[in-house]
Symmetry: C2
């Protein structure tokens, strides 16, 4: 038996002093109201009403019970209302985790725009290149750059792609010579992006076919800016996402090499727990990020 329903029936009967009135108001039959109240009385072991066929008066016990459960049920409704509001309104906090470089250079401006569009939403933006569990309750959204995880317990919302390129400083190329084929990379000092280090090699695409190329890795870091600085200083050939080295290439600090041998583009995706009921602010955020990066060709161009 639905005790809450019985309580609501009881409250309505008490307020109106009539079973039939409560039945009309609740859209139920008189018998059902009667049965619910009787059940409540039996389960409590207390008579709640003194009823004649024409009058319904609260017992002392009924008065006490009514006075006790009224605020309780109000609190309960408040709790639900609060929850629903937090779920459906465009307010509250979004906790985002993203890698350092991409977060600083590309995510931050979009997030700031987002916050101006939805001023009631607060953002907690955590930038770090450490791998964090997107399923821990620490973050609502985790932005990842890399190959898909194919984790069935995780929603991977693909945002865009970012291409990578091989590049080096002009001074470096003057000193070591510009490589004409990837074979030469195993003789040249190479700078490796840490998150992708699986060994002393790079996987490159040549005419859409993947080929594993041995390299001479001298520096690896989980921070792309470190590698960019190293590359600009002429310390080696770097394989870096264009969003990191794009500006340096545009200003001539770095020069693309082996342009026919480009690494596969990396997936930029938002990871989050697959809740069947996602908070409105989160789905709005995902959509906002999606459209903001939809035509982000700067990511694809050197």
């Amino acid at each position: 038996m639905d005790k809450l329903g019985a309580m609501r029936a009881f409250i309505n009967v008490a307020r109106q002093g009539s079973f039939a009135g409560a039945a009309r108001q609740l859209g139920l039959s008189r018998s059902q109201i009667n049965r619910q109240v009787v059940w409540l009385e039996d389960s409590l072991g207390v008579s709640l009403f003194n009823r004649t066929t024409r009058k319904v008066d609260l017992t002392h016990a009924g008065q006490a019970y009514l006075a006790n459960i009224l605020p309780v049920l109000e609190n309960l409704d408040d709790a639900e209302l609060q929850l629903r509001d937090n779920q459906q309104s465009l307010s509250g906090t979004i906790k985002i985790n993203a890698p350092m470089s991409f977060g600083l250079t590309h995510l931050t401006p979009v997030v700031l725009d987002f916050m101006q569009t939805y001023p009631q939403i607060q953002v907690q933006l955590d930038l770090s290149d450490e791998k964090r569990d997107p399923l821990s309750n620490q973050f609502d959204m985790t932005l990842r750059i890399g190959p898909p995880e194919n984790n069935p317990a995780l929603i991977e919302h693909d945002i865009t792609y970012t291409s990578r390129c091989l590049c080096a400083a002009p001074a470096f190329l003057q000193r070591y010579g510009t490589p004409g084929s990837p074979d030469e990379l195993k003789e040249l000092p190479c700078l490796q992006y840490g998150n992708l280090v699986h060994g002393n090699y790079w996987d490159l695409l040549y005419q859409n076919k993947s080929q594993r190329v041995r390299i001479n890795g001298v520096l690896s870091s989980n921070n792309g800016d470190v590698l960019r600085q190293a590359a600009i200083k002429g310390m080696g050939v770097a394989l870096l996402p264009t969003f990191i080295v794009g500006e340096a290439i545009a200003t001539g600090q770095l020069v693309p090499v082996l342009q026919a041998w480009q690494p596969a583009p990396l997936l930029v995706s938002l990871l989050y727990a697959p809740n069947r009921h996602m908070a409105m602010r989160l789905s709005v955020f995902v959509k906002y990020i999606q459209t903001a990066f939809e035509n982000a060709e700067f990511l694809l161009q050197g």
Copy 2:
């Protein structure tokens, strides 16, 4: 769907971090716990748990909801406990209404004994000769002296009988003569008990047959002591319950007359609302009064 049940399932799952654990504790199947939680989530439009098949963690929304409903449910349980306790324990207040004379002379000592037997029970004893509705919430118990009401919406618990007698002061009899037959009453000044005044006559029993006898009513009152004082002063023949005039007869202030023509004994009964669940203190009170008056022969004797 029983929302309270679903909430309890949710709370148990949250506490144990496991659907199966909650199922074991609640004595239900895993599927039922799952269904209840899913139903709760759907009805709230919010995901309460982040679940993998091996871990169950509260969502932020779930944490908030749990924190909100926990005290609410506790309050609800408290309300029920309080109600049940008030119902089953021998404590609380009993509100009694009784007629003035009988209350003072016979009910009061029994009530005082009752209070010493059950010191946790408080009594509110209202003595008045006005007719009051036993169904109004003003009183739990109404003691009435008189013929049964045969009200189906009322429980009439018969306690005992009290006989009545015709009597007068010796001085009065010296002046007017002792009546030898009831016919003479229509010439003698008579004193009528107010609650029973239905006209200028008395209904008397002669050899177990009721006969209506015309009288000469000169004073009527709803208070028996008034009539007793008047009778002692020699102002007329009184028809009064023996519990009022018994002492005066014993001391010779009044003398019974027409002893072959006695009025029908009056019923002493407790009236109360027919609650299907009577508070323990009330049923105990009824039983106590019942046994206290069970052999109350003083009521039957002049």
